[in-house]
């Protein structure tokens, strides 16, 4: 299958690969898997607790090129966003930006799920309610 140049770029030069301290109070970790293909994504955010702005984001992904690119792109987008802005990221934005073909849409869904899981992990650490998934794919 032919990948778009943007997917190839993120795959070859992934942004923000790495690990944040998942025990830290201001770090949210989302670890999600796609049952379709067995791919697994971990996304972490480090949040400024006073402003609720995401200071740093890291990912590690076991998956196809599209999943790696989706998570790499997600970390780029997350940095500097508020939690509310981050929650507004839609998987279709990722699909569009990376020109993912239909069979690769679930890879972007995985990234969206990972963002939500990371935010919820952070919220729970802060003593807040987790946000329920507002849509089902």
């Amino acid at each position: 299958m032919a990948y778009s140049n943007k997917v190839i770029d993120h795959y070859s030069n992934p942004r923000n690969v790495g690990t944040l301290d998942k025990a830290a109070q201001n770090v949210g970790t989302g670890l999600v898997g796609a049952p379709e293909c067995g791919d697994v994504m971990r996304l972490q955010i480090e949040v400024d607790e006073t402003t609720n702005i995401i200071k740093d984001a890291k990912f590690k992904t076991f998956g196809c090129g599209s999943a790696i690119a989706s998570s790499s792109l997600a970390t780029e987008w997350l940095k500097g966003k508020s939690i509310d802005e981050a929650l507004a990221i839609d998987n279709m934005d990722i699909v569009e930006e990376l020109s993912l073909p239909p069979v690769k849409i679930h890879c972007s869904v995985l990234a969206e799920d990972a963002i939500r899981a990371a935010i919820n992990d952070y919220r729970v650490k802060q003593g807040l309610e987790p946000i329920a998934a507002e849509k089902s794919h």
Binding site: M1, L31, F62, C64, G65, A117
Partner: protein, 403 residues
């Protein structure tokens, strides 16, 4: 050195330029129909076909009259299995095969099952070998055919043909072998192995595509197959259709080259393959798929655990290889051959088959080693699974999204 580097020689091989040269006159100057008995055009074609038959027979220790030309191994597999099932229907209705056979064999057996024949599918062990006791137990007086491939196309695993032949013949059945991956690569002698029918194909041995052969034994015992296409009764009535003269000339030349150069090629390729394998197996958490010794000298199938197959294929884009992963095929299931060897889905998905060939150079192998090591290292660096594995974390902590 040009990239991508071709290491998919089990899928097909580049045609040897000497084969092309031999074929060319038979497209134009000597275009005759080998069945035309009345003029020089036909005689020239027939003579070329006869010569090719000799070249091919010589390679496999057969008599020229035992070679039936077909369009390739798929057709030879069909003709052998269906042809025997039809011809020997009065003797019995039972066929024995193996779960790791090529689709051309397995699907043919399935088709016969639909027509009421009985088929036993022998399983293989973790190394890909069949169990001879199981074969012996499966043989019945109604068994007419045992079909076991000589060398597997995904792992290169070589089955013990002599022993299989002895058991098969003791039970009064015939032995057919799909030897597509072996003929022209390793010594294959139908007498030594006791094979009654054998399929092989031009494009797997540096010859042209669209031409193959079926060896059909003529004595001890004399074997016959029922034709599967009606027509002019070519090839002793077993396979009708005007002969593909240029293709046959090419297959003949390919067989001759293989015979003359085999010993040197085996030694050269084994050395290169072993170098590749030794280096790649130094990478942590790798697994060699297939029996380490009973294996073709130019094939290596390795799983790289904790990296994802499709990502890996993307990472080694400078190599033309095959993967046991689903993404290289139309289905989502990983390789049924590896599965039959009890290799789990994850390891099957991250497996790569390296198939070396006549045109593979040491420089290419050195590049391949570096390229694969780099890609695996990079993907593991990026993999949460690898991190969890190294920390000894249970992978079941992953939350599976429910879309």
């Amino acid at each position: 050195m040009k990239t991508p580097i071709y290491l998919d020689n089990n899928a097909t091989t580049r045609m040897d330029p000497r084969v092309l040269e031999a074929m060319l006159p038979y497209f134009t100057e000597h275009f005759g129909n080998a069945a035309s008995r009345n003029h020089a055009f036909g005689w020239a074609a027939e003579e070329a076909v006869d010569y090719a038959r000799e070249q091919i027979a010589h390679l496999i220790g057969a008599d020229a009259r035992e070679i039936i030309f077909t369009s390739g191994a798929t057709e030879s597999d069909n003709l052998a299995i269906k042809g025997v099932a039809d011809m020997y229907a009065r003797k019995g209705d039972h066929i024995i095969t193996v779960t790791t056979e090529h689709k051309a064999v397995l699907d043919t057996c399935r088709a016969l099952e639909k027509q009421g024949k009985r088929v036993t599918y022998l399983e293989v062990d973790d190394d890909g070998l069949i169990n001879l006791q199981e074969l012996e137990a499966a043989l019945t007086p109604q068994t007419i055919l045992v079909t076991v491939m000589l060398a597997n196309n995904e792992t290169g695993v070589i089955q013990p043909m002599k022993e299989i032949s002895a058991l098969t013949h003791k039970a009064g059945a015939l032995l057919f072998s799909d030897a597509t991956q072996a003929v022209g690569k390793i010594p294959v002698n139908v007498e030594e192995y006791g094979i009654d029918l054998m399929a092989f194909s031009g494009h797997k041995m540096y010859g042209p595509k669209g031409v193959g052969a079926l060896y059909v034994r003529r004595k001890n015992p004399r074997v016959k197959v029922t034709a599967q296409m009606d027509g002019g009764g070519h090839e002793r009535g077993m396979r009708s259709g005007t002969l593909n003269v240029p293709g046959i000339v090419g297959l003949g030349k390919a067989a001759e080259l293989a015979r003359l150069e085999m010993a040197g090629e085996i030694a050269r390729l084994r050395k290169l393959r072993d170098k590749l394998e030794t280096e790649l197996m130094k990478v942590e958490e790798t697994k060699l798929n297939g029996h380490p010794e009973h294996r073709l000298p130019h094939v290596s199938n390795i799983s790289f655990k904790h990296v994802e197959g499709e990502g890996l294929m993307m990472g080694i884009k400078d190599l033309a290889v095959s993967s046991g992963s689903a993404c290289t095929s139309a289905s989502l299931e990983p390789s049924y051959v590896l599965k039959a060897m009890h290799i789990n889905d994850d390891a099957a998905h991250s497996s790569i088959r390296f198939g070396l060939g006549r045109f593979t150079t040491e420089e290419e192998i050195d590049y391949a080693i570096r390229h694969v090591k780099e890609a695996v290292g990079k993907l593991r660096e990026m993999s949460p699974i690898w991190e969890m594995y190294q920390e000894g974390v249970d992978l079941n902590t992953v939350v599976w999204a429910s879309h």
